[in-house]
Amino acid sequence: AQSVAQPEDQVNVAEGNPLTVKCTYSVSGNPYLFWYVQYPNRGLQFLLKYITGDNLVKGSYGFEAEFNKSQTSFHLKKPSALVSDSALYFCAVRAPNYGGATNKLIFGTGTLLAVQP
């Protein structure tokens, strides 16, 4: 079965420190991977995606993510955290044989990022 795991319910980091939010996936075939951020009382906002090519992808607000095929991971990173980065982060995956042209996604359960001043 296709699945996405975000092993940490919450990540705490001090402002200015680097941050990592973890994501692992289990799909057959080559995955398409996405990160979204959700602020309180808002919908999910698209941050970045990996489709193919360079394993390090850059996205909005200074975030980047590293695709690791051997570890089936797609961790979200940022070199220097801001208090305003505090939000709920979701990893999502689309497998070639799940959703196909309908672009259906499987979401992780989310990780709450708390950045302390």
């Binding site: 009382n41 808002r42 042209a101 672009n103 979401f107």
Partner: protein, 113 residues
């Protein structure tokens, strides 16, 4: 933000009543989706549409129906609401193309008493 409007934004209703949530897009995207968000479950797909009058079930479709009579509108109906359907509901849209992300509305908070 993508042109997605969900209405109403908040609703409180009683068990057994019918409820319809509306999603309206101005992007002319082909695909539309309804999700529910619950603590510990992330987002779960209820129904989706791949064109006018073309819809299909997601992973948690029981108790829900949908309709799409125009490209821009996707309606989610709870025929007889139950307390287990208390949740935050999100609509999303996506253009054609398998590498395209989905874009989300700001959600409807539905409470069923």
């Amino acid at each position: 933000d993508a042109g997605i409007t969900q209405s109403p934004r908040h609703k409180v209703t009683e068990t057994g009543t019918p409820v319809t949530l509306r999603c309206h897009q101005t992007e002319n995207h082909r695909y539309m989706y309804w999700y529910r968000q619950d603590p510990g479950h992330g987002l779960r797909l209820i129904h989706y549409s791949y064109g006018v009058k073309d819809t299909d079930k997601g992973e948690v479709s029981d108790g829900y129906s949908v309709s799409r009579s125009k490209t821009e509108d996707f309606l989610l109906t709870l025929e007889s609401a139950t307390s287990s359907q208390t949740s935050v509901y999100f609509c999303a849209i996506s253009p054609a193309g398998s590498n395209q992300p989905q874009h989300f509305g700001d959600g409807t908070r539905l409470s069923i008493l």
